[in-house]
């Protein structure tokens, strides 16, 4: 097998410990639920309307921009690993790659999509 078995073990133990802690709390704590205790907290007043509402679209824009740069970073990591052994031409290729994306960032910025409107 490979080194991922250790990661798998970390995931397993990382699940067991919080489950154990929460289970201990569940066993030892009192359990006297009632509808008022279970009502949604809203600053001391009765909750108004549903909480699962339509949300501000601005968050979606940031997630979109993030996705593009995330993929870009993934492309750049193998480049960064080899950079020390490659010459100047590899650096120039990286500069071209990043500059094209910075153009995208500037476009987004100029279009006003980065403003919190």
């Amino acid at each position: 097998m490979n080194e991922w078995i250790y990661v798998a073990l970390f995931i397993v133990v990382g699940l067991i410990i919080p489950i154990g802690a929460i289970a201990a709390g569940f066993i030892l704590g009192p359990k006297k639920p009632n509808p008022i205790k279970e009502s949604t907290y809203e600053c001391g007043v009765e909750p108004v309307g549903e909480a699962w509402i339509q949300f501000k679209a601005q968050y979606y824009i940031f997630a979109l921009v993030f996705l593009v740069f995330d993929v870009e970073a993934v492309f750049l990591f193998p480049w960064a690993v080899k950079l020390g052994q490659l010459g100047l031409y590899a650096v120039l290729e990286g500069i071209v790659f990043v500059t094209i994306l910075i153009v995208g960032l500037v476009y987004t910025w100029r279009k006003g999509m980065l403003e919190w409107a």
């Binding site: 991922w4 339509q54 501000k56 997630a63 979109l64 993030f66 996705l67 593009v68 279009k111």
Partner: protein, 169 residues
């Protein structure tokens, strides 16, 4: 069966089961979360194949970015997150038939390929996939052009997304 095969079968079943839940669950946010577990299952398959870089990238990009985007999209567009319409349309049997045929065809093709039952050769020691990948991406006689074109593609995706999402007030 070796331990690796057993682990693969468990992971494959987990992935398929999650994928089934994505299309059958009625709550859209639950569907998005099941999609996360499907994508995680795929990452585990990559890890089983010793493709470390792809496995981590699968989690970083698909769970860290695309799944979040899905959840945002679900929460932004639908007021009611519970789907109430019928889940099948009247052509469901046709779809099922096509799926069975595709599966049978793929199974037949793979059966006739002798690579399917061969055990993979162990990777040579000192095999460093990432630095090979780095070499391939920037070397002029390999993939430097696709590497730069990928940047243009990402730029196009960004500009397109911004253009579509831009709300003229």
């Amino acid at each position: 069966m070796t331990a690796q095969q057993i682990i693969f079968l468990i992971v494959a079943l987990f992935t398929l089961g999650s994928a089934l839940m994505v299309v059958t669950t009625r709550n859209l946010v639950h569907a998005a979360l099941w999609l996360v577990s499907t994508l995680f299952g795929v990452a585990v398959v990559y890890a089983l194949l010793n493709a470390n870089f792809i496995a981590v990238v699968q989690v970083v990009v698909y769970i860290g970015a695309i799944a979040i985007l899905f959840i945002f999209a679900v929460m932004l567009t639908r007021k009611d997150m519970r789907d109430s319409g019928p889940q099948m349309n009247k052509n469901w049997w046709l779809g099922a038939l096509v799926a069975v045929f595709v599966f049978a065809g793929l199974a037949f093709l793979l059966q006739s390929w002798n690579g399917v039952s061969a055990t993979a050769a162990a990777l040579p020691s000192g095999f460093d996939a990432i630095s090979l990948l780095g070499d391939a991406l920037v070397s002029p006689d390999a993939y430097v052009l696709p590497f730069e074109v990928a940047s243009v593609l990402l730029l196009a995706a960004l500009v397109g997304a911004v253009y579509v999402a831009f709300n003229k007030k």
